[in-house]
Amino acid sequence: MSHRFIPLTDADRAAMLQRIGVNSVSDLFADVPRDAQYPEINLPSALSELDMLRTLHDIANRNAHASEYAFFLGAGAYNHFVPATVPHLIFRSEFFTAYTPYQPEISQGTLQTIFEYQSMICDLTGLDAANASHYDAATAAAEAAVMAINSVKNGRKIIVSPTLHPHYRATMRTYLEGQKIPIVGDEDTALSLDAVLDQHLDNNTAGVLVANPDFLGNVRDLKPIADRVHAAGALFIVSTYPIALGMYQPPSAYDADIVIGEGQSLGNALGFGGPYLGIFACKEKYLRRMAGRLIGQTTDTKGRRGFVLTLQAREQHIRREKATSNICTNEALNALAACVYMATMGKQGLRQVAELCYQKAHYAAREISESRQLRELGYRVVNCDSANRFEFFNEFVVECPKSVAEINRALAKQKIIGGYDLAQEYPHLKNGMLIAVTEMNTREQIDALVNALRES
């Protein structure tokens, strides 16, 4: 029997071979070494659609998910509300099964939506230009580092803040390894950013990459840092969490040259880590050094507005080994999701999401820090200063009396996914749990977490 995904019958095949003028399909593979043909391949047998679905249900059922568990886990990926408009629109075949918009006359849908995405990212970050996406924030960070190296005359190294996401720092190292560009600054993850700059910032610095909110949830005005970085002639690169920008001042306010960020939170599923969305924006003057695709507005022969892929001369298709990046396939559909998300939430909605995150996280932190019982057990919220003032957005660190892994195992039994275990990446935060709270966490869930900590 024919396979449902291949609309050819044996009669078709015979007629086609005849038309081609060969006797059999194997004539079409005559140039493939005979002895290598048709190896035994160890795969399971074909599944019907029904059995496939059953298998997938079984597999999916082995994962704890956010419809059944209360999630207090962030660390770069966040459980935010996705309005129904997003899946409805991005899964329209016309967007979903199209390719990169090479032929603009029949790709205006993708082109205009990505142009709108670029515009919204500019508004959100305050920067001048944004590209049509990187794989994720980690690779956007690496590309930003490359861009800084290429933009700064004596740029020979990159400084990263220790509170930049550990995966981003690791990815940057892998990316820049071949080009022998050192990434410094996170040797001691307990050091403050100022101390790091004291130690490393010099005239050979191409860029300084700082997260805001940082990996531990803290937010601050980075203007003083930016000034130091600029004074040294380096580019100031900020990694951001776009939901936070619903309420906080944009990185342009503290003069960031490049902004990167993880766009997952803008309407994209958690999806066990991907596909996500690498946001990348920069100031106008660095525009032509930016990697990735750009959509530009222009006019057609009849004077009508239209959108095209532009400045392609920067890209690998044309520049080949002189391109600064090899990126080709990107995360266009995730950018579309972000675009639909921002369109649906709008100016007011994005602010409200941010404030809900802020309020709920601060409530959670307060409940934990003010619980005498938890204090006695040895729990302590780290992100509060001596005056007991909290300075974070929606994520904060709790120092626990025992291993976070152990606590999380107990929480999971109560259908709670606890916070990120900082033990490995931030050894100075012994038994540190990084707790994230979003608009998806109800007060009831937060109270349940606090209770569960008491009992765990």
């Binding site: 290598a36 990926a77 016309e94 979903f96 090479y102 029949i106 958690l270 991907g274 530009g296 369109a343």
Partner: protein, 485 residues
């Protein structure tokens, strides 16, 4: 709706009406904290539009796009095949879509099992059993693979290898990748049969050669006839062989790159294994390597320990190549494609994609000029438009734009760079014979129009929301965002 699709669509910003909302959120259910007023932003210029207009805006825009679900999308090198709809059900399951990458491994065993099994399948299909699913696309797979090659040499103390050989027919990502990984690119010429020129290859290989990157079948749609010899030459010189698996569709199930002498290969899951292209992404580009190279793969990979799946860091890993574990939801789709074909049907993908390409070529080869007429092609073929240009004054861009008027997406054009006025056609195995007959008839008619009425082609396309756009203007004075008034 044709009339709606041809109407200009305003930008969302132009539809914005202050005070309108398309969202709703629950009330705050916790006692309030004072916001940090010194850190707040004063304005945020996002559009303000109701839900109905959000939906209509994007629905109308969607109709300005061609897509695989409307018909043949014969972009050479892109493998625009049908995307099974069962995947849309699958990836919406909360057990996939709402799983956090950092949650404890005990609570994500299903996801890890699926990844582990896909690693095994890709190892079996490629004949290269070390597998990472981390790369997000083909190009990132390339970078990963080349860094693995680099790590291999360095681990052996072989520090002098600074060059990567790349045939002149290669995709731009190959040289760009090599450069990113810190290598010099040395170009190898193609010969008249579309193979690598073996003399040129021999001349360029040396003890400075870290490896070679090539696609097989290559971007001419031709299988490298001396694949084993090429690989032997590299291996003899101490280099490794990187296979750009973008064209794996042509041989999947029929032959394994590992058996042909490749050491490292990536697979674009969004090509061979039917992850939808999403208007440019996301994709997924796993890398497969021979056993002794597995120690260099990116961290982490999924391993099995008894009944449990765990993340493991390879011993001499090149490090992370992105955050988290890879484009998981893309991985799910590839998993479905492979299991839907299974061991019984897998090779039909290659066989029928090659059959379709050769059949389509047979239907038009008397009116268009195949670049290498004497060979059968694999899953795609390349036409040379020089004669059209000379005789009719019609270039390949004109032909491509005219194809739009017939209701099809045009093939890839002007790639590979070594073929003048290149037109590169890949039908894939998911086209019926009837659809190829129709498409060929259109191409034949266009050839006739090129002769009889070239202006028709110069002015094409004729019934699209916009016609040819001013690229020069777009690049000279870039407008990359909506400018608030």
């Amino acid at each position: 709706m044709s009339i709606v699709a041809n109407k200009p669509e305003p930008l969302l910003y132009e539809m914005s009406n202050p005070g309108t909302v398309g969202y709703s959120l629950p009330e705050c259910d916790v006692p309030m904290t004072q916001l940090p007023s010194d850190l707040l932003r004063s304005e945020l210029n996002l559009p303000e539009v109701g839900e109905v207009d959000v939906v209509r805006h994007f629905t109308r825009l969607s109709q300005k796009n061609y897509c695989v679900d409307l018909g043949i999308y014969p972009l050479g090198s892109c493998t625009m095949k049908y995307n099974p709809k069962v995947n849309e059900e699958a990836i919406r399951l909360a057990g996939f879509s709402q799983v956090h990458p950092m949650q404890p491994a005990e609570t994500a065993q299903g996801a890890m099992q699926l990844m582990y099994e896909l690693q095994e399948y890709l190892g079996a299909i490629s004949g290269l059993p070390g597998v990472t699913l981390q790369p997000a696309a083909g190009a990132q797979g390339e970078l990963t693979g080349v860094l693995v090659i680099r790590a291999y040499h360095l681990a052996r103390g072989d520090t002098a290898r600074s060059e990567i050989l790349i045939p002149d027919s290669a995709h731009g990502t190959n040289p760009a990748t090599s450069a990113m990984a810190g290598y010099q690119v040395v170009q190898v010429k193609s010969d008249a049969r579309g193979n690598m020129d073996s003399e040129d290859l021999r001349a360029k290989v040396s003890n400075k050669t870290a490896g070679i990157m090539f696609t097989n079948p290559n971007t001419l749609g031709l299988f490298e006839e001396h694949v084993r010899a090429v690989n032997q030459i590299l291996h003899d010189a101490g280099g490794l062989v990187y296979g750009d698996g973008a064209n794996l569709n042509a041989i999947v199930g029929v032959a394994r790159p590992g058996d042909l002498g490749f050491d490292v290969i990536h697979s674009n899951l969004h090509k061979t294994f039917s992850v939808p292209h999403g208007g440019g992404g996301p994709g997924s580009g796993p890398v497969m390597v021979r056993p002794d190279l597995a120690q260099f793969l990116p961290s982490p990979v999924v391993a099995q320990e008894g009944e449990t799946y765990v993340f493991k860091n390879p011993a001499h890993s090149i490090g992370r190549i992105k955050s988290f574990w890879g484009n998981f939801l893309a991985i799910v789709r590839a998993y479905v494609y492979i299991r839907s074909f299974g061991k019984e049907h897998l090779q039909e993908i290659a066989q029928d994609s090659v059959l379709n390409a050769n059949y389509l070529l047979a239907l038009i080869r008397d009116v268009y000029d195949p670049q290498v007429p004497e060979r059968v092609c694999k899953h795609e073929f390349v036409l040379n438009g020089t004669r059209f240009k000379k005789e009719y004054g019609v270039n390949t861009l004109d032909v491509a734009k005219r194809i739009i008027d017939y209701g099809y997406y045009p093939p890839t054009i002007y790639f590979p760079l070594i073929v003048p006025e290149c037109l590169m056609i890949e039908p894939t195995e998911t086209q019926s014979k009837a659809s190829l007959d129709e498409f060929a008839a259109a191409l034949r008619q266009i050839a006739e129009e090129a002769r009889a009425n070239p202006q028709l082609l110069h002015d094409a396309p004729h019934d699209t929301p916009v016609t040819r756009l001013d690229d020069v203007k777009a690049a000279r004075e870039p407008v990359l965002r909506y400018k608030h008034l």
